[in-house]
Amino acid sequence: MNGYAGKILSIDLSSRRVATIPTETYQQWGGGHGMGSALFFDKVKDKTVDGFHPDNTMTLMTSPLCGTLVPSGAGRTEIQGIGVQSLPIGWFTRSNFGGRFSSMLKYAGWDGIAIQGQADSRVWIDIRNQDVRIRECHDLELWGTDTWECQKRIWKHVAGNGVYGDWIRVNQNGDKTTQRPAVLAIGPAGENLSRMACLIHDAGNGAGQGGFGAVFGKKGLKAISVIGTGSIKVNNPQALMRSRLWLKDNYQFSLENLKIKNFVIGFQSPPVPMALYRFGRPRVGQRPQACVGCTAGCRGRYEDGVGNESICFNSLFYYLGRTHLIQRQAADLINRYGLNAAEMFTGELYLKTLHDLGVAGKGRDIDCPLDFTRYGELSYAEQLVKAISYRSDGMGNPHPFGDVLAEGFVRAADKWGRLKGENSDLKTGLLKFPHWGLPRHKLERSQLDWGYGTMLSDRDINEHCFDTLRAFPTYFKRTGEELPPSEAVVKTITDKMEPFQGDLKMLDFSTDNMYSDHIIKLVSWHRYYTRFWKQSAQLCDFRWPDFLNLYGPEQAGAAGIAEQRFFNDVTGKNFSFLDGINLGKKIWNLDNVIWALQGRHRDMVRFADYVYTRPGTTHTGFPEYMPGIKDGKWDYVVTSGRHFDSDRFEDFKTRFYRFQGWDEKTGCPTRQTLESLGLGFAADALEKGGKYKNA
């Protein structure tokens, strides 16, 4: 059991019973997502329950690598359960956050937490090594606080008479640490059950997707705090240290030989905050800030303390805020109130458009209390955030606007009558929520791995494995810089995509190839790789897989070599890269069984209407470029500006299901396939649920 703490914490909030599950029971799933899916499958007998139902079980899982020296693989936590954000069904879904929660949980002696039930009062969970308490919120007046204040109050409570900066005794045994507890909290948005509510840890680590903040809120759970003073045993400490230094010497950025100055995906990236504010990276004193064990921090902490650890969608949220400072303060707002930044970013722009069209505003068709004369000022963003978080007018008064919007932008648009007829905002593309009622991330018609991956699963996949293939060509075409030959780039990557290596056309993003069997292999590999190596082993999405690397031999990264090396150093297993892909396939199938039990049918797997009729355009207005074959030769081709063809996507789905070994008519995994993967129990559940009746 090297790498594992050995136990999973099981908490029933209804009965307030705390129990343990031996990790060994679920060890075959590796960790993280695999364990979470299996645990959920066992614990939730009726998969059709709503996300707000007490029987919904949330899992927060670590991996054997968490808390160890594995580079950029020690600090993630995988969250699963039935979500409340997606449409038409709140899918069994996942979210994930970085920081130090998972490592602290391991040091406390736990590989994960499963939470079910619903408390009859508002509570928080206090974990100090093996001592686990369900505590009342009223003692610390936690309910009603924002996510930051909540954490600070818990920090102070756990320290007791101690002072941070010194050793703190965390329990009666005298166990000591200098560290603050790792706390995962909801803000007012979660307390008031907004379907956009997220979970926040430290300043800016957010588990944004799924609406899990609202699931916490419904369960009466304000926060989970964990402090651990133990250690995680590693199978071969010397080998792990040598592997870490091998990666540092051969693939990691070097300050003595700096080849890139900006944030990029992979280990070649230097530590630079991935801040996407309209005015760029904050220009105040700062440091990079990293999750536990990372080679290169992707967040920053600033001398004015504003925007600490906010990156990506957080920094994008108030894109039209008038000043840099306002945008940074707005990023803090959604962290403090606990709102999903991705939906807030896309939704905020939609709302502004509705106002500009004369639809939304005081006394208009959509009675919106927001003061648009203050658009661009912080007060506007604050009113919007408060309106959603408190289901109000954002000024302290009950108002249907906030109440409706708290349900999410697509549900709100439906309520406002914006989704009817041929002028539906999901037909015109005014409402850029292309899949499952969730906001757009990458341009799905351009970056096919992302678009198909999202539509064929349950959420915006938010997996950047192939993002470099769009980011670099698109940027370099604009700047006029020379690009490496696309065929060589594609070969370097596809050589690592075991077991499909050698098929270069998996990365041909040209329009002629966008429905091909090669792209089916790309999407499949992506699903399998991420399900295990990213979401179960919990290697960070920003650094893994390390495909292309200016420091690597022939500019090839560590992917395909490093994953299993680190996994085996820690666990002592003889686990191959392909073993990980195959286990990922098994986990992917189990997830699909759960979705089928929830009611998924292939007919639901359909993009929003505008994706089939409107050309995909980028936020910047510049075209996107990706590798592709043009006139018989490899090149970089324009991939934006096109749309999907409905019939061809349906055919693509049929062949995708065939490739998975699933029923082509329903999209449901077949018994034969499931049994071949050792998932006969899942086939039994499908049969019992009547899912094989018409097959």
Binding site: Y107, W167, T177, Q238, A239, L255, P271, G293, T295, A296
Partner: protein
Amino acid sequence: MDIPIKLQIAEKHKLTRRTFLKYSGTIVFVMGTHLYLPGQCSAAGQGEGIPRSDGYLVVDVKKCQGCVSCMLACSLVHEGASGLSVSRIQILQDSFGKFPDDLTIEQCRQCESPACVKACPENALTADSEFGHVRMVDKEACTGCGSCFEACPFTPERLSVMADEAFKKALKSRKCDLCANAPYHWDAAGGGPGGKQACVEVCPVGAIAFTSELPVQEGTSGYKVNLREINWSNLGYGR
């Protein structure tokens, strides 16, 4: 006094002359909110017969990215397991704090006049010439009484006394030995002042360095230094 420290740092990191020139700048004095007062520091002064250590760790708290890889590596090579409480170097940070006071690094200073060595009633804490006079614990002799912890004049104390799995969970003191006696050291040549220190080697940003020159004992300026090279500035960070 400054020049030899800088030379050692430069040599350790094999810096180019151009990069090295930046070290001729002022060593930064970094004062955290919880640091010790000079008047309470018993570390300064003569060693009273205890020879100086052949090596020291110096750190740059403005450069640290808070990944705690140093702590994970330290515990790994000493304990065969990764954890934070057993790490001999401690990174303390506040996610909501303001740079640079959001984070500090507290490492053992290998004091010239080591209160911990003098306080040990079992002579289990020594400065052995075999290990470059690093102040280190002989766990066989250590009774876990905690005298060394109590004697350490710094906050937080640079030692910890915790149960040790290798000794049937008996309390044992732990402190930085510059990896001189790290049972799980990865390099055949080992650690100590003449070898490799896990925290120095693993730090992704070079925020920890080794020096054989005795740092200024009073205050923190000798131990908290500026390790920021020109490329750190090129990444948009201050020097």
